[in-house]
């Protein structure tokens, strides 16, 4: 069983020798080396997307603004993870760990938002009565809440 695990754990070639062969030009060390072109290309793409995101913010697309901004952020994050963090060439389990953690955060978010929406009708807008007293006396600038919705 441990043989199988060891096979799963190690990368493509070169599993047992302590000294790697020198035949693969740059790859004689530990694993794949990312090329200059890739690194600078991805870096440039990330900077470009940042500028685009900022520019889009000043354009009024209405409801779409947030999804667009988050969508571009998602693409940037994917590029960083795949290329800078080397997931493109790593064994897939590392990527699975990252994707899995994000999946659980999404799950958490879904359940919490569902819960919040469920209780929304029972919440009234504005400050709690005790807080209201304190605000009125000690904070001359605080906006006064509308308490007409108190049950």
């Amino acid at each position: 069983m441990f043989e199988a695990l060891r096979e799963f754990n190690t990368m493509s070639h070169d599993t047992t020798a302590a000294h790697a062969t020198h035949e693969d030009h740059d790859d004689h060390g530990l694993g794949h080396i990312v090329s200059y072109g890739t690194l600078f290309g991805i870096g440039f793409a990330l900077l470009l997307m940042t500028i685009v995101t900022v520019a889009v913010r000043y354009v009024d697309a209405g409801e779409l603004n947030m999804p667009i901004a988050l969508g571009i952020a998602g693409v940037k994050a994917t590029l960083v993870a795949l290329y800078f963090m080397h997931l493109r060439w790593d064994r897939p389990f590392n990527a699975l760990v990252l994707v899995g953690s994000i999946a659980f955060v999404v799950l958490l978010m879904i359940f919490v938002l569902m819960d919040t929406a469920q209780y929304a009708p029972q919440v009234f807008e504005g400050n709690a009565p005790k807080v209201q007293e304190v605000l009125t006396v000690e904070a001359p600038g605080a906006p006064i809440a509308d308490q007409s919705q108190l049950p």
């Binding site: 302590a18 940042t50 790593d90 659980f104 955060v105 929406a117």
Partner: protein, 320 residues
């Protein structure tokens, strides 16, 4: 990870073609079969830690989602107090530092020590630059009391306190300046309602008015002085408390803002410590094609810090 200190031999270099009498690379810990397996295990361990970091910030992102879903007008209003350009520059700084970090990993793999150390220093420079910009943002906000909790509702100084308590009619200029002049009537009403809610203070201000020109002019003049200091980003010196458009609960925005960006800033500081340690070890010559795992794993940490900021930036700075 343990490094094996064996008898040094004459032609030993740091990159382990010399087996030091043990038959393997001195950087290979005994419980691993090969350098490659050691590296793979290290990487997996690091990814598992990064998963906890994602969950750590994930919880805060969920809190953000709930707050924003329940109070969209608060986020819409408060976003004007955040400088999009500064945030954008910070994002670019972090992206560039990620690039130099990836380059550092590459140079470590190639055994080019000078360039490795240079790129690590550049990454550190990016971290410092990020924190400097953050410092300016934070100090500006803290000065204006754009912070979490009760402090948000406290006047910044005496002149602002005076301004907020002075009825609108006593001032030559409206309570709020700039694009909100159209709301001057509304501002007056709100100012008056503030007075009505606190009869004892209203009585004392009437008393000082009755004292004569000296008593009357001291209040409004000092209050007007507060209006005079209009800040470059368009807010009046009267501050957010005098703004009639400020929705209830705006302090929540700054609470979640400081919590998330502050936690991220702490991670940047920790990252600086990690990079500093890597610089020290790299300078010492510890890393090369045979062994560069710490640089690789430190790079992974730094990229996650960048990743988190990539999401924080649109959520706080790009709200329309």
């Amino acid at each position: 990870m343990t490094s094996i200190q064996a008898n040094p031999s004459d032609h030993a270099d740091d990159q382990g073609h010399d087996d030091h009498g043990h038959g393997h690379d001195p950087n290979l810990a005994h419980h691993f079969e090969s350098m490659e397996q050691q590296m793979d295990s290290g990487k997996l361990g690091m990814w598992l830690f990064l998963a906890t970091e994602v969950l750590f910030f994930g919880g805060l992102f969920v809190a953000y989602a709930v707050l924003r879903a329940r109070n969209p007008e608060v986020f819409s209003y408060a976003s004007q107090y955040l400088d999009t350009i500064m945030g954008g520059i910070n994002t670019c700084v972090l992206i560039l530092s990620s690039l130099t970090m990836a380059l550092a990993v590459r140079f470590a793999q190639q055994g080019r020590k000078g360039l490795l150390v240079l790129c690590l220093w550049l990454t550190m420079g990016g971290a410092v630059g990020f924190l400097v910009i953050k410092y300016f943002e934070y100090s500006h906000k803290i000065h204006d009391h754009l912070v979490w909790g009760g402090t948000f509702y406290e006047p910044v100084d005496e002149s602002q306190k005076l301004l907020l308590e002075t009825p609108e009619e006593a001032l030559d200029t409206p309570l709020v300046t700039g694009p909100r002049e159209a709301n001057a009537a509304e501002a007056r009403d709100i100012a008056m309602s503030q007075i009505v809610n606190r009869p004892e203070e209203a009585a004392s201000s009437v008393k000082t008015a009755a004292l004569g020109p000296a008593g009357l002019s001291a209040g409004p003049a000092a209050a007007e002085a507060a209006i005079e200091e209009t800040e470059s980003d368009g807010h009046s010196g009267a501050g957010h408390l005098a703004d009639p458009e400020m929705p209830v609960g705006t302090h929540l925005f700054f609470g979640i803002y400081f919590c998330m960006t502050g936690l991220h800033g702490i991670h940047v500081v920790i990252g600086m410590g990690v990079i500093g340690w890597l610089i020290w070890r790299s300078q010492r010559g510890d890393f090369g094609p045979k062994y560069n795992t710490p640089v690789d794993l430190g790079g992974l940490y730094w990229h996650i810090v960048d990743l988190i900021w990539i999401f924080l930036f649109p959520l706080f700075y790009l709200i329309h």
